[in-house]
């Protein structure tokens, strides 16, 4: 498997029409190996024979429920699993999770939602294995390159080192590049705590981070403040 699109996927749902549609959607999105099953029994057989790299599971199945099927699969393998739920009630169980599901989608869904969520979890699990070791995780912002593995920022002026907290903050922003990341999530990532009491600390760290990655820290181009909410790492226009 060179990319996540080569992974073998198993879709389990009791509605044949949904299976056909999901297969079409996933095929169009680039996933070529999509297997389907309409009951627990069939799902078990395929799971055993084909060893899929990812599973999409409906919760209500004619001969059992998705929760217990997932737990069964979990004993054998650690592959990512995505739940499809048709009941709001399931949401509470899924939120409470601890079930080991990677994500869930409520029916009815939009095709791109399924594709985005599925690619997301597949990438999270398989990307580290797929990327050749020579290619380190790098963030390029104009003339600045951030190497997350070494924690070094390469600029025209030379090299700067990121502190542990700066590294954690920048990595969090990078994971969600282009989107607002709330101060609460940043604080959770760097200090594993609630924001209350860290407001100024966070601001100071962001300022230092800007000094390292921005050309003009007082007029940032990449690390932007979204007033009242948090920060955003703008996507590089050249990439």
């Amino acid at each position: 498997m060179k990319t996540i699109f080569e992974s073998t996927l198993l879709v389990v749902d009791d509605e044949p029409e949904i299976l056909i549609m999901l297969k079409k959607i996933l095929n169009q999105a680039g996933f070529s190996n999509v297997l389907t099953a309409d009951c627990c029994q069939q799902a078990r057989e395929i799971f055993g024979a084909e060893k899929p790299n990812g599973v999409i599971l409906d919760i209500m199945l004619p001969d059992g429920d998705g929760f217990s099927l997932m737990q069964e699969f979990r004993l054998k393998s650690n592959i990512p699993m995505l739940f499809l739920s048709a009941r709001d009630e399931d949401e509470n169980r899924l939120l409470g999770l601890g079930l080991g599901a990677d994500d869930y989608i409520t029916k009815p869904f939009l095709p791109r939602e399924v594709v985005l969520r599925l690619s997301g979890i597949l990438r999270r699990v398989y990307q580290p294995m797929l990327t050749p070791p020579s290619q380190d995780e790098c963030l390029v912002l104009g003339d600045v390159t951030v190497n997350f593995k070494s924690g070094i920022v390469q600029t025209c002026d030379g090299e700067k080192t990121l502190t542990a907290k700066e590294h954690a903050l920048l990595k969090k922003l990078w994971e969600d590049q282009g989107n607002i990341v709330t101060s609460d999530r940043l604080c959770r990532a760097a200090w594993d705590d609630d924001l209350y009491g860290y407001e100024n600390t966070l601001m100071v760290h962001i300022r230092r981070l800007r000094e390292k990655i921005e050309e003009d820290p007082s007029q940032p181009k990449y690390l932007l403040t979204v007033r009242g909410m948090g920060y955003k790492l703008a996507k590089d226009a050249n990439r």
Partner: protein, 449 residues
């Protein structure tokens, strides 16, 4: 229990008052009767006066006019017994009255009766004047008492009154206590009934019948409550079932229309049509979800999953999600959370409060087609916090601004606002809707904790 004690205390007081009143009424009545009834004292006219009216003029006796009138008014006969025991004068003397008297006779009739005639006597210079009344008209009985006894009469009377009062009070107290013992289980039963508990009171004794009826009522109420709950549950389950079943076909509609929307082989107009189908099916999705959650909230089938959260963090996350999910240009959302609001914590069902806030933001977006600025804020409030969502759009129609506690269905607002009100009610808070004078609309979610 307090009110039962009050009832008992009042009944004791009432009983005592009634007893006292009876004593007073009796005394007044007796006194009145004694004063008004002349025969009791038997002293309408003085025997002495009549006696004085008997004059002896040269051996012939005659009653003067006044005395005669007085005599006629009260007595039927009269006689004068001389010093020798012989009757020397008489008037209307009945035949069965003897004309000669011994000392014994005189001593006897002065104390008792003369041949059953009640008589009154008076001494005169010529002997003893005897005035007689008809037989059976007067009850006559001489009372003899020691001086000591007579002198103690007033204190006896006082003691008698006090004793009466004391007895009445003690009886009232005992009666009250008895009543209290009997009523207590009934009172407890009714209190339990109010709390919809099943009661099983002992059905023996004076209050047995009432207790039995209460027991039966509790069973009836319980059954009724269960039937109502069953009906609500059935309705909620039915709605949940329908909303579940509609999701599969809706998935197909949304899935394929969304595919068509981006199908390059279609004409732009056709793609637009596919887009409309996709958008409308998304509306149905929201409607179904709203209907489902509204019915659960209505019948309190949605258990609250309470946890302590930071409202400021939740609002930041919601606002950021709107922007990250591409809230487009004519709309903008801004958040005002002061630094101290970061320290606020709220015990709530996070998913439901999240739902209430997004319903309000969605509402602002949906009802202001030409765009609006949405402001979200959170601030401390004496007993909790206030989350405020406002916009500079066209404001709420008057029916929304009523701010009644009972959620009303508003035609153009679907279930969104009903859900918001229900959620706030479940959290012991409330939602107030207003159109500020500066324009637009504003909703305050007030949490009291």
């Amino acid at each position: 229990m307090k009110s039962l004690r009050k009832i008992i205390a009042r009944s004791i007081l009432l009983t005592a008052t009634i007893s006292l009143l009876l004593v007073v009424v009796n005394i007044i009545f007796t006194a009145n009767w004694a004063m008004k009834n002349p025969s009791v004292t038997h002293s309408k006219y003085d025997v002495g006066e009549i006696a004085d009216g008997l004059a002896n003029i040269d051996g012939t006796y005659s009653l003067n006019e006044t005395a005669t009138a007085q005599f006629n008014a009260q007595y039927s006969w009269a006689m004068l017994i001389g010093q020798d025991g012989n009757v020397v004068w008489s008037k209307n003397l009945p035949a069965d009255v003897p004309l000669i008297y011994t000392l014994t006779d005189i001593a006897t009739f002065t104390r008792w009766y003369l041949n059953d005639y009640p008589v009154s006597v008076w001494e005169s210079p010529d002997g003893l004047i005897v005035l007689g009344e008809p037989k059976g008209s007067i009850w006559k009985y001489p009372i003899t008492s020691t001086e000591a006894t007579i002198s103690q009469v007033p204190s006896y009377l006082g003691g008698f009154l006090i004793l009466n009062l004391g007895a009445a009070l003690i009886l009232a107290l005992l009666l009250g206590l008895w009543l209290y013992r009997k009523l207590k289980p009934l009172y407890e039963g009714i209190t339990a009934l109010q709390k919809k508990e099943t009661i099983l009171l002992p059905t023996k004794g004076v209050t047995g019948e009432v207790a039995r009826i209460l027991n039966e009522t509790s069973v009836v109420l319980k059954e009724q409550g269960k039937r109502l709950a069953d009906r609500d549950k059935t309705r909620t389950e039915w709605i949940a079932g329908v909303s579940h079943d509609i999701r599969t076909p809706l998935s197909m509609v949304m899935g394929y229309s969304s595919q068509l929307e981006t199908n390059p082989n279609l004409l732009p107009a056709e793609q637009d049509q596919a887009k409309i189908i996709r958008e409308q099916s998304q509306r149905i999705k929201t409607l179904v979800a709203d209907l489902n959650i509204a019915s659960k909230l209505e019948y309190e089938m949605q258990p609250l999953h309470l946890s302590k959260i930071s409202p400021a963090a939740m609002l930041r996350s919601i606002s950021a999600d709107y922007i990250n999910n591409g809230l487009s240009d004519p709309y903008s959302i801004s958040l005002k959370a002061t630094e101290d609001s970061n320290g606020l914590s709220l015990l709530c069902d996070e998913a439901l409060v999240h739902r209430a806030v997004t319903n309000l933001i969605d509402n602002s977006i949906r009802h202001n087609g030409s765009g609006c600025i949405i402001d979200v804020s959170v601030k401390k409030h004496p007993d909790g916090c206030i989350i405020k969502i406002s916009d500079d759009g066209k404001g709420y129609p008057p029916e929304v601004l009523v701010n009644s506690d009972e959620p009303v269905f508003l035609e153009n607002h679907g279930l969104g606002l009903i859900i918001v009100r229900r959620i706030m009610k479940l959290h012991g808070g409330k939602a107030t809707f207003e159109n500020p004078s500066s324009g637009g609309c504003s909703v305050s979610l007030i949490f009291n904790q």
